[in-house]
């Protein structure tokens, strides 16, 4: 098949990929977006807690907290249509096993300059379980609404953008001042600028291009979607800071997402590229070189709902009820350097210039703006 030339080629049709594509189109560039999925936003952008972070989540990493707060307003303004603000987001510190207590959390909020209102933990949690509860200003975004927005916007640049879904990348070569990305089924793409926004697949792409990989480990994660009763409908709970859980609205779907630090990860791989025993059973959909979609995998794990709900039930008052609806699975890369302080820095690396190869790795939706200076 023919080789087509673009100003930029972006790998990965998640939020970072599509944001970059739209940003470049608006500058008048010709862009290609490649993704192995048959739709954008099929993985991490959709399968996560859907938090629009303002920093509350990182009481041991004020740098991550302040970074999140910085972009919070801008993200909410730019993507107002997909934001759910209609609920109380309550953060609480567990009385036991927490790295942060109520007082420290308050001090942290003060230092990070993010608003909080102190509440009585006994109004929400079983007696003695939490030593601090705070009403916070944190929202949730609806990934599918956000996806449709990006598709609509990109649609108006039809001649400038090529969204190549279902593309199976087979190799990346460098020739003089450009890179050529070869695919098994969609021809070749040539460009002087490559953006690797493949998230969990990022090291697999870097491996193909022969660059140094990110130091990450991989967690196969489960997010559970729940139907909730009236009492819980307009409330989100996040119990910090250790082996706890969170149950909060999932965008505008009317469902709540339930996750827990201990039971959300089902399997871990510490290899530079994701290596799991289940890959052998995936009928060729998933391998060390090309990660499949965990959510659609025939051998995805059995739900950990009994564990997660047991944990949540240990904390929450009986007034709050939730029932299992559905599980979502996805692969999450975790920087190995961030285990101690639990920080989630957004890493953007430039591997080469002329031709340029940039890689991004971020676990947070609202730091997408960091990309702009690299585009």
């Amino acid at each position: 098949m023919a080789t087509e030339r673009f100003d930029k080629v972006i790998i990965g049709a998640g939020l970072y990929g599509l944001y970059a594509a739209l940003f470049c189109c608006r500058k008048g560039q010709k862009v290609a977006v490649l993704d192995c999925e048959n739709e954008p936003f099929k993985r991490a952008t959709y399968v996560n807690q859907a938090r629009v972070h303002q920093g509350y989540h990182y009481p041991r990493s004020i740098s991550t907290a302040m970074k999140s707060a910085e972009y919070f307003e801008r993200f909410n303004r730019d993507f107002d249509f997909c934001i759910n603000r209609e609920f109380d987001q309550i953060y609480a510190t567990s009385a036991r096993y927490s790295w942060t207590d109520g007082k420290q959390f308050r001090e942290f909020c003060k230092a990070a300059g993010i608003p909080w209102e102190e509440l009585n933990p006994d109004n929400y949690f079983r007696s003695g379980m939490c030593d601090g509860a705070f009403r916070t200003r944190e929202y949730t975004y609806d990934a599918l609404i956000l996806r449709d927005h990006f598709l609509d916007e990109l649609n108006s640049f039809q001649n400038a953008v090529r969204l190549e879904l279902g593309a199976r990348i087979s190799g990346i070569e460098r020739t003089g001042d450009s890179y050529i990305i070869n695919t098994e089924n969609k021809g070749s793409f040539e460009s002087g600028y490559i953006l690797n926004a493949a998230y969990a697949g990022t090291n697999q792409i870097l491996d193909m291009a022969g660059f140094e990989k990110f130091r990450i480990k991989y967690e196969l994660c489960e997010i559970i979607l729940c139907d909730v009763n009236e009492a819980l409908k307009a409330t989100g709970f996040t119990v910090m800071d250790g082996p706890f859980f969170s149950i909060m609205p999932f965008g505008k779907t009317g469902l709540h997402s339930l996750t827990s630090v201990t039971f959300t990860p089902h399997a871990v791989s510490t290899d530079p590229v994701p290596t799991f025993p289940c890959q052998k059973l995936s009928n060729g959909n998933c391998s060390r070189t090309r990660l499949g979609n965990c959510n659609e995998c025939p051998v995805r794990p059995r739900t950990a709902f009994p564990y997660m709900s047991g944990l949540a039930g240990k904390y929450l008052l009986d007034d709050y009820e939730f029932n299992y609806r559905q599980s979502l699975f996805s692969m999450k890369p975790v920087l190995t350097s961030s285990e101690i302080d639990d920080s989630r820095p957004t890493l953007i690396r430039r591997y080469s210039t002329g031709p340029t190869f940039v890689g991004v790795l971020s676990g947070k939706i609202n730091t997408v703006y960091d990309l702009e200076e690299f585009l």
Partner: protein, 346 residues
């Protein structure tokens, strides 16, 4: 509990739930992971105290894993490693890798905390509807006893313990005897190998006091229904505890007697009464001697002064001891544990 609703419509609800995942081209019936046996639907946790147990932990942990996996759909095992200096932890990791559907975690305590605080740490992590507490890792019972204890709990007992069917050690008998005698109520405690607690008890204890010096006494204090099962001792003899643990246990015995019983207070009251009575006797004797014989000059005043002073002094001592008891009480209630890490193994 909220998640029980999840099962309330019986097994079929669970099955349809499995199918309600996106389209999954897997035959659940044939897949071993999904076969539905008649397993218990309650979520149980097992908390195991581990301190230098490399010789016993392997068979013990294996027995617990097997019991959990064979009988319960969902369970977790929490090993509390109270700063073991031997190979216990690597053996736990090895045995854990054999587990198929139970979750196994290890809490590594920062330094030697002793059984009571360490087990509290384990209990705080446990999420089960029922929680087993294995205070030691000697497998001197048939694993079926674990399920007997569980079933007894289902019959309406919030706390069910299992004790070896043999004569207690003299020291244990002495301790429990004194405990019952001086606590003003009948605890009826005996040597126990393990017990099961309902979530109700666990919640009640945690709201009663942040730190129970002695769990067993707290459980009885919770006022919920308790049961006990005697099992015939089989297999291994209980291994002698190591020095650290032995010292810890005798100190715990003394502390418990002071904190939960009125032994110390009653002893000092008795002594004070006795001494006060003796002071009174001496006063009377002095007065009589003064009138009947001719004591050396100054003897009467000296002895009278001393007796009255002692009389007052003992009175003051009683008050001080009462204060001390209150202080000890409050200090112990504030005592906390510290742990190094929590690892999820399986």
């Amino acid at each position: 509990m909220i998640w029980k609703n999840f099962y309330s419509s019986g097994e079929n609800a669970y099955e349809s739930l499995l199918y309600s995942h996106n389209t999954l081209p897997v035959n659940y019936k044939r897949d071993k992971r999904f076969t539905m046996e008649n397993k218990e639907k309650n979520f149980v946790s097992a908390v195991i105290y581990v301190h230098n147990a490399e010789k016993r932990i392997e068979s013990f942990l294996r027995a617990v894993i097997r019991t959990m996996e064979d009988n319960f759909e969902h369970s977790e095992i929490i090993c509390v490693n109270d700063s073991s200096e031997d190979d216990s932890i690597s053996i736990i990791k090895e045995v854990s890798s054999e587990a198929e559907n139970t979750s196994i975690s290890v809490i590594n305590m920062s330094y030697f905390h002793g059984r009571e605080l360490a087990m509290n740490a384990g209990m705080d992590l446990a999420i089960g509807d029922y929680v087993f507490e294995f205070d030691n890792t000697t497998l001197d019972f048939d694993p079926v006893v674990i399920m007997q204890v569980y079933r007894t709990a289902l019959d309406g007992f919030d706390i069910v313990s299992a004790s070896p069917d043999r004569r207690e050690r003299f020291t244990s008998r002495l301790f429990y005897g004194i405990f019952d005698r001086f606590s003003g109520r009948t605890y009826g405690m005996t040597t126990e190998s393990f017990r099961i607690l309902s979530r109700r008890v666990v919640n009640r204890i945690s709201s009663m006091s942040k730190n129970a010096l002695y769990r067993k006494a707290m459980y009885v204090n919770s006022g919920l229904k308790t049961g006990n099962i005697k099992y015939p001792v089989s297999g291994k003899k209980r291994e002698p505890e190591d020095k650290k643990e032995k010292r810890y246990r005798s100190r715990l015995a003394a502390d418990s007697l002071i904190l939960f019983t009125e032994l110390g207070y009653r002893f000092s009251i008795a002594m004070t009464m006795l001494m006060m009575f003796m002071s009174l006797f001496v006063i009377a004797y002095t007065v009589i001697t003064y009138f009947t014989s001719n004591p050396v000059e100054g003897w009467t005043t000296t002895i009278l002064f001393l007796s009255v002073s002692f009389f007052g002094l003992f009175g003051i001592l009683t008050v001080i001891i009462k204060y001390l008891q209150l202080l000890v009480d409050m200090v112990f209630k504030r005592k906390h544990y510290s742990y190094e890490s929590v690892e999820k193994l399986k």
